[in-house]
């Protein structure tokens, strides 16, 4: 295919012409930039085919994927032709909206469905899927040279992210321990930091807050000074999703934990401490004073949409939300800026809790080796670079992608502060929760308690007491406490 075009790309790859020169050349042949970039990857993929690995081993196999409706999936689909060409396999996929995606995954896996070979998941979910026996430990594949191509470069994955997807299955067991199983392969991830509307900040003469007290103050100031916008967007729906982004990132920055693990492996609630109480009080106060009026129904898309529409001055949430909202079509496009945020004034750096979109392999699948071919391609450096530079496959989980000059400069020009923020936060970025099977019960309850506190149904200290009691009771009931 496209022989003439390919030559042009080849010479770009060999450093003969500049990227712009190549694109111009391709455009003169009637290709759009998007198509062209797929072509670039086609060449990269062809290079991949030269590395001696038998890519065609499962030629003719048909895979089926279960995907969340997400830019990561879009980026993969845009590049899928190259995978098919590389391996001779065919790929089908089901995409579900995020509102129902995980319920769909649970329904499919719990019924023992053999329909899907691989699927998108978050690391937290594997704490259920793994022990339930629905997904495979991927270490068996990563370490097997006959199954994994030599250029896969597993070590290239950011360590905190990679470890966050590995757990030994023991309640309270440390993530990334030596006996951990790799339940999923990180794909793209989110750090929770500050994204603010620089236009609004400038107009209201606000400075970017650097710790929790400043955050509370700046949010209140923003709300007071800016007409038609509230101070800070954080999530508030009755769900685990309310706890894991900004809230836990700041919480962990004070050295606080969700659960204590005793020496004999018993778990107990750890959120009823003085520091925690102070943190909760400030957080609750911040939402009461300057949060979204309908905070208690806010999920990430409300937080993001409001920011993009200029309805909030800033968010303490996933960095990629600001990244997406900075694109065309949102009224505040181009106005969003990014800043690392350490809630604890005494902390050296932010400690963002992270969300990792990952790929997992269904145990019930009938063609696991072939599925692994797809997974290693989709999480490999070539697709990673393609997605990060040409699509919205951000944040990448590979060091090599972050080191890519083209990617860094692209981010720097359009997303001020993004790269710095990432670099500063990355060392402390990991999952700060204790891995255990009641994760969703306890975090949902935590969120519900936050809602009660914000609604002033009960004071913070009383709420924390109740939460602690309830968490301990549930842990005991499940035989974990």
């Amino acid at each position: 295919m496209y022989d003439k075009e390919k030559k042009l790309v080849q010479s770009y790859m060999n450093g003969g012409i500049s990227r712009r020169g190549m694109l111009r050349g391709l455009a003169s042949m009637g290709m759009t930039a998007a198509t062209a970039s797929v072509l670039v990857n086609a060449v990269a993929t062809e290079a991949l085919a030269q590395n001696g690995f038998d890519w065609k081993k499962h030629s003719g196999t048909n895979l089926k994927l279960l995907l969340n409706q997400h830019p990561y999936a879009d980026a993969m689909i845009a590049n899928l032709e190259n995978f098919k060409a590389l391996t001779g396999m065919t790929v089908e996929y089901d995409i579900f909206p995020e509102d129902v995606y995980f319920d769909k995954v649970t329904a499919a896996l719990s019924s023992g469905s053999t329909e899907y070979d691989a699927f998108m998941t978050g690391a937290y979910m594997t704490w259920t899927y793994g022990p339930a026996g629905w997904i495979d430990d991927l270490n068996e594949y990563i370490g097997d040279d006959s199954k994994t191509n030599p250029d896969y470069n597993w070590e290239d994955m950011l360590e905190g992210v990679r470890n966050s997807c590995a757990w030994n299955g023991q309640p309270g067991g440390a993530l990334g321990s030596d006996d951990a199983k790799q339940w999923c392969i990180p794909w793209g991830y989110e750090q929770n930091n500050l994204t603010y509307n620089s236009r609004l900040f400038r107009e209201a003469a606000l400075t970017v807050p650097t710790n929790l007290d400043e955050l509370v103050g700046t949010a209140a100031e923003a709300k007071a000074k800016i007409d038609g916008a509230y101070g800070i967007g954080v999530r508030g729906s009755r769900s685990w999703a309310t706890i894991h982004p900004g809230f836990l990132s700041g919480y962990a920055n004070f050295g606080e934990k969700d659960l204590n693990v005793s020496d004999d492996g018993k778990l107990s609630a750890a959120m009823n401490t003085d520091i925690s109480r102070a943190y909760h009080e400030k957080w609750v106060q911040m939402i009461q004073e300057s949060g979204a009026p309908d905070w208690s129904t806010h999920t990430w898309y409300q937080a993001g949409t409001d920011l993009g529409a200029g309805k909030s001055a800033m968010i303490f949430d996933a960095d990629i939300l600001g990244y997406f909202m900075n694109g065309t079509g949102n009224s505040e496009a181009g106005n969003l800026a990014f800043a690392p945020f350490a809630a604890n004034p005494d902390a050296d750096a932010p400690t963002p809790n992270i969300w990792i979109w990952s790929l997992a392999m269904a145990s019930a699948g009938k063609q696991k080796d072939a599925a692994w071919y797809f997974m290693q391609w989709a999480s490999g450096p070539e697709h990673g670079l393609f997605g990060a530079t040409e699509k919205d496959f951000v944040n990448p989980v590979r060091k090599s992608v972050w080191a890519d000059a083209g990617f860094r400069s692209r981010l720097d020009t359009s997303y001020p502060g993004y790269v710095d923020m990432h670099d500063l936060s990355a060392p402390g970025a990991k999952i700060h929760f204790t891995a255990q099977p009641l994760f969703f019960d306890l975090t949902t309850e935590w969120a519900a308690m936050l809602q009660k506190m914000v609604a002033k149904e009960l004071p913070v200290d009383e709420g924390l007491g109740q939460l602690e009691a309830s968490v301990n009771r549930q842990l005991k009931e499940a035989g974990l406490g």
């Binding site: 649970t106 259920t128 022990p131 009755r238 208690s296 019960d441 009660k452």
Partner: protein, 307 residues
């Protein structure tokens, strides 16, 4: 003729013995439903187990323990309270409103028929989508209802996001969606009532309020019961509207049975608790419905006897 029928063998046609006929007619429907019974019993078994998907090794029969735990579980009592409140409020308001509208539209006229069909539109809006609509309208930022609230001086109306107005908001949505259902059943009922008693009452100059209480309402009762039966069952099992509006929040203000059970299953993967919750919901519905149906059959029988 008579001699012919005597000698000739009965005409050869496919005939099912009278004794089996009813079963032949009802069995297919029954079988289809029985297929659904098997999972039902599986669910009963789940409810008697300690069963979390995330702890398969700990799965075992604990018999009534899930149910016993409810006794001391404030979350359960809250669920019960919220569900009953929700059902009572929605069905109550819908019944009054539906009856009122049906009375307004009782007379057969082009206009009334047109209005009654138009009013069915909310019923045709899937509850999941209706909730989306109302979420758009009650958005504190740009929602038109929030804007109107400010116009009449309610500055900080947060609708479903505020614990004090969350129930009100979901009840409004439920009322919006389901009142037409009651309305249409009652309208049909009103229009099918015999005319004579009303004409007689009018001739005798009986006050209209009296006619309503003493003639209309009693004659309408079977229709009311059918409407209420279906509504109560659905209302106490409400899921779509509440889940779409608030997922049971804020706090635990709206954690009705099905929402709680859904979250228990899909998020906590606590199958045992989820199934036990649903079993209790089933029992409540069963008891309520039995009462309704017994009364309904009795009333119907009586109406038939009079006719």
């Amino acid at each position: 003729m008579s001699t012919q029928t005597l000698d000739a063998p009965p005409a050869r046609k496919f005939k099912i013995s009278k004794r089996f006929l009813p079963y032949v007619l009802s069995l297919p429907a029954l079988l289809v439903c029985i297929g659904i019974l098997i999972p039902f019993f599986t669910a009963v078994a789940y409810s008697l187990q300690r069963y979390r998907l995330s702890q398969p090794w700990a799965r075992k029969y604990n018999w009534g323990e899930n149910y016993l735990n409810f006794m001391t579980d404030p979350a359960f009592w809250n669920t019960l309270k919220v569900s009953l409140t929700y059902a009572f409020l929605t069905v109550g308001v819908e019944l009054l409103l539906g009856l009122g509208i049906a009375l307004l539209l009782q007379k057969r006229s082009r206009f009334n028929n047109f209005v009654s069909i138009m009013l069915l539109m909310p019923l045709m809006t899937a509850p999941a989508l209706a909730s989306l609509m109302w979420k758009l309208m009650t958005n504190p930022g740009f929602g038109v209802l929030s804007y109107w609230a400010t116009l009449i001086g309610i500055e900080d109306m947060k609708w479903a996001s505020d614990p004090s107005t969350a129930m009100l908001t979901v009840v409004i949505v439920d009322v919006w969606v389901y009142t037409p259902f009651i309305m249409i059943l009652l309208l049909a009922g009103l229009r099918s009532l015999p005319r004579q008693p009303f004409e007689a009452a009018e001739l005798d100059g009986v006050p209209r309020l009296f006619v309503f209480w003493k003639i209309t309402l009693p004659m309408l009762t079977p229709f009311l019961l059918t409407a209420v039966l279906f509504r109560v069952i659905e209302s106490i099992q409400q899921f779509d509207i509440i889940y779409a509006m608030t997922q049971g929040g804020p706090g635990d203000k709206l954690t009705v049975f099905q929402v709680e059970a859904y979250l228990n299953f899909f998020q906590s993967t606590n199958v045992g608790r989820s199934a036990a919750l649903l079993m209790i919901l089933w029992a409540i519905t069963y008891i309520l419905s039995t009462i309704f149906i017994k009364n309904w059959l009795r009333l119907r029988e009586r109406a038939r006897g009079d006719a």
